[in-house]
Structures are given as C-alpha cells and as structure tokens.
Amino acid sequence: MLKYILHRIALLIPTLVGITICAFAFVRLLPGDPILAMAGEHGVAPARYEELKEQFGYNLPIWQQYARYVGEVATGDFGVSISSKRPVMEEFKTLFPATMELSFFAMIFAMVLGIPAGIFAAVKRGSWFDQSLMGTALVGYSMPIFWWGLLLIIFFSGYLGWTPVSGRIGLQFFFKPITGFMTIDTLLYGKWDAFRSALSHLVLPAIVLGTIPLAVIARQTRSAMLEVLGEDYVRTARAKGLSPSRVVGLHALRNALIPVVTTIGLQIGTLLAGAILTETIFAWPGIGKWMVDSIFKRDYVVVQSGLLLIALIVMAVNLIVDVLYAVINPRIRAA
C-alpha cells in the first residue's frame, strides 16, 4: 500500500513542476510590464519601480527568477496582496473555509439526493420514475448554474422572502472563527439564532453548487447499479431467497458504490469551478469570489498564488481519491 502511495506521489511531480511554471509564467505573460501590472491603476514612481524590480528579482536571469519563486512558495511565502496589503496566505486561510463549507454542503446535498435516486431508478428501470429522473438529471447536467442561482434568488428571496440574497451570515452576528465553518462555529458558541442565520444563507448557494454533481452522481449511481444488478452474485443472492431490499441494499450497493466514489472525487474540480460562479452570485466570501474580484482589481499577486493554491488542492484531493479507491478496491493496487 505504501509503495502504491509513493508511486502515485512520484507520478505527480511533473504536474507539480508544471503548475509552479504556470503560476510563475502567469505574471510574466500579462501584457505590459509585470511590475506596472502588479502596481495596478495607481502606477509607481520611477525610484520605487527600480526598488521593486530589485525586490522581485526581475533583473535576474529567468531561471534564477523561477528558482527564487519556487523557493518562496516552498517556504509558504505567497507574496502580499496589492489591494489589501495582507499576505496572500493569510487571506487564503480566512477565505478557504468558506469555500470548503459551501462545497461540503453542496456535496452532501448531491449525495443524499443523488445516490438513493440513482439506486431507485436502477431498480425500477424503465419506469416513469426512472425516465423522469434521467430526464431531470440531463437538465441538471446542462444547467448554466449562474442562471440557476439567479432564478432561485428571484423565487425564494424575492417572491417568497424565505432566504437572504447574499453573504454568509446576518451582519448583526460576529464571531472569532474557530473552525471557519459558520454552521459549526455558531453551534460551538451556542448561538441558535446565529446558526439559523448561517444555515439560511447557506441553503441556496449549496443547492446551486450541488446541482451538477447531483445530476452526475444520480446518473453514475444508476448505471453502476444496473451493471451490478446483472452480475452472477446478485442472481445467486436472489436465488437464495434473500429479500429484494437486502439484495439491493447489501450485495449490490457495496459494489455499485465503488465507481460512484471515484465520480464524487472527480467532482472536486467541478465544485471549485462552480464555486467561482456561485460565490460571485451570492457574494459568498470564499476563494472563488476572491479570484474573480482580484482579476478585476488587477491584484495579480493574488491571482497568481490563488491559481497555484487551487491547483495544489485539486491535485491533493485527486491523490486522496486515488488512494481511497485503492483501499476499497484491491484490484487497483496490483496494477
């Protein structure tokens, strides 16, 4: 097992190098002078310009600049945001839990609805439920989620007035974060009304972000289940006289879930891409909105480091999924 994990990590090294090259190249590929680009609209005095050039090492040969960049990143130095003057890593640490919380609940929403729906559709294959579920799943899969979010706001916030339009929690509540998850922190402080406020802010964005994963998971569960239900051991279990719910719930489900776990893992990229749109619509203070705002503020230090950090997260999650997959499915390890 350890050998397998080490092998997987070794395979990631070229990608890791590639990601740092991309982030490094980003600032240098921007049209115009990188220092002027980083200074933003206010520009920079000539003396300060030389100073900055020295400071960022732009007068060094390009490979030395890259080595220097990798050295900085490896020690956790991601630079200082131009607009907020705070270290990028510090901003990232305060914003990332918001994206995590949103993604987590989106995934819960997608799994809690998608897995049972997929199982049921497979068991009742060809029924009206199966057909309408697969139709709905295709609609969900084709959904422009930025529009979906706006529709939900129109209906639930505008028409019914049930949920707030934006943000993470009512402005009257302020907490020093413990875990960074609003729903958990409010409970840890024992503030029920704050918890309710956090939850009502979370519902719509989580649904919006979870919609495409929900469609994908429902489709994947259904097809995995159909495949498993045709296997010999399921027929044997049926022949032994086990109840249908036991056959489906115990014998079939465990095997059907293996590809579903992979699908769920692969959704992390979709989630982070979706978070960019969802957070923008709901003014959710996470890393997706941070990236978009930084692009518009021309805060390229943030964009550069955000790009790097997000790619690293996706890579790490994919690694974890691969390893988990090997744990539940021993056939993979041998290969």
Partner: protein
C-alpha cells in the same frame, strides 16, 4: 416511388455508406430524446441563420419610451415586445435570436480548434509513443490539473477580455480530452492487422496516421465533440456572465445575463429568458450527444 428507386440506385452505387447511415439512424432514432434534441437544434440553427428576418427589431436598437417592459402576457406588456424589453429598452426576443448566432459560433469554433489540436497531439503521442508521448501527455495532465473555468479565466486575463479570446481559452481547456481520446484509440488500433498490412504495403507515417488509423477512431471523437460543443457554450456564457467574455452590447446570452443581474428582483424576464435560451441549447446538444453515443459507440451503447 421515384424516391425509392433513387435510394436503390444510390445503394447500388455505394452500399457501405448508405447501410452505414441506416444503421446509424436506426440506433439514433430509437432514442426519442435525441430526435427531439436534433429537432430543437435545427430550429436554433434556422433562428441563427434567419435572425435578421425573424427578429422584430435590430438587437441594439433602444426604445427610450419602453424600459423594462414586461412580456406580452403580463400586465403592462404589449404585443409590440413579445418577451419584454431590457433596462435600456432593447427588445429581448430580438437579442435572443441574434444571440443564437454567437452561441452556435462559439460552439463551432471552439470544437474545431479543440478537435484540430487534440487530434494532432493525440495522433503524435499515440503513434510515436516514447518521449513525444510523455511530453504531450504530461502537458495535457497539467491543463487538466486546473479547474476548467479557472484556467479559462486566467487565460482571458492574459489575452484580454472578449469573445474571440474567450473562445481560444475554452478551446485550449477542452482540448486535452480530445488528445487523450485519440491517443488511446490510436494505441488500440496501431497493432491491428489492417494497420500492419498498410505499413507492409509501404504506407508512410502521415498516411498511416491520417488515412488508416484516424477514421477508425471517429465514433468516440464525434461524441466527445458534441459534449464539448455544449460545454463550450456553457463556459463562454459563464465568462460572459463574469464580464470577461463577449463585451456589451453584444447580444451574447451570458453577457445579457450579466447586465440584467441588478434587476433580478424587479424584472424577472430580463434574467429568465437568456438563461432559458442557454439551457435549451445546451440540453438539446446533450440529448443529441446521448443519441450519438448510443448509435456510434458500441462499447458505450446503453443495453
């Protein structure tokens, strides 16, 4: 009657192609959704082609007396503007019809670019293997390591906002899927007897790649191309929505949504219709994609 003789004559002339198409249509038409999707898609193409004839107004003409007019069936609406007007008094229906041109153009251009790049790289990687393969595939892995929309955003930041740059960025992001597909197919086909036979007969590298192997990988490529077509439309609309794709006053659907955002709680129609247009287009294409998969790819065929 004359039609059927024509068909027989054609069939006699080129039996393979026609029976091939018949088999294809047989499997495709079994899928009711796919046929509906194809029908909707044809309507969209017609709407895009004849937008100047169908649209009641030019897409950028402003009626200063009719800001945010609701659709015809709602109180305050009139038949003059069937789907209402936007915040600066432009007819939404006309803008949607012209917008179909942009969405279909985006899909076509992006798929062409991604397909060309992906086929070239995939063929080279799968055919030559060795360091060419390693270099190309590591590069593809790298592109896939970033969430697609994020990479597209960053590329557009470098290239500058605009429809053409957005298309370039999306094509680059979608391209690795084609390269992987072609590479896998080429590797599977390369050791087959017909390829070896062609090689023995003296076919050169280029001929082997393009004329012998490539046609046998077309099925999965067409399916992937269809899915990328709808993906491209979605991503371009998302970039437009974020303000980095097509720029106003272009009647691109995502861009229309972006400028309608602040009016969502006052005028539901400015938001609802452009998004609905995106959804219907993407859904139609995905339905076609499902049908094509059933018809073209025996391995993926739904039993």
């Amino acid at each position: 009657m004359s039609q059927s003789t024509e068909v027989t004559a054609l069939a006699a002339g080129n039996p393979d192609r026609l029976t091939g198409f018949r088999t294809f249509w047989h499997y495709f038409s079994v899928n009711r959704g796919a046929v509906i999707g194809l029908f909707v898609f044809i309507l969209l193409v017609l709407a895009a082609l004849f937008a100047p004839l169908l649209a009641p107004y030019a897409p950028d003409i402003q009626d200063k007396t009719a800001f945010l007019r609701p659709p015809a069936w709602q109180a305050g609406g009139s038949a003059q503007y069937l789907l209402g007007t936007d915040p600066v008094g432009r007819d939404i229906l006309s803008r949607l019809l012209y917008g179909a041109r942009f969405s279909l153009l985006i899909g076509a251009v992006v798929v062409t670019l991604a397909l060309t790049g992906g086929i070239t790289l995939g063929l080279l990687a799968g055919y030559f293997r060795g360091w060419v393969d390693v270099a190309i595939m590591r590069l593809m892995d790298l592109i896939l390591a970033f969430p697609s929309l994020l990479l597209a955003l960053v590329l557009v930041t470098i290239l500058g906002p605009g429809l053409f740059n957005a298309m370039l960025a999306i094509a680059l992001v979608l391209q690795p899927h084609f390269a992987r597909l072609v590479r896998a197919a080429v590797m599977a086909e390369k050791s087959r007897e017909y390829v070896v036979a062609a090689k023995v007969a003296g076919a050169g590298h280029i001929r082997l790649m393009l004329r012998t192997i490539l046609p046998n990988c077309l099925g999965p490529l067409i399916v992937q191309g269809t899915l990328s077509f709808s993906n491209a439309i979605l991503e371009a609309a998302a970039l437009g929505f974020l303000g980095l794709g097509a720029q106003p006053p272009t009647p691109e659907w995502g861009t229309m949504l972006a400028s309608a955002r602040e009016f969502i709680l006052r005028a539901w129609w400015v938001v609802t219709f452009p998004g609905l247009a995106i959804l219907i287009t993407v859904l139609a294409i995905n339905l076609i994609g499902d049908g094509l998969r059933d018809a073209l790819d025996p391995k993926l065929r739904r039993s």
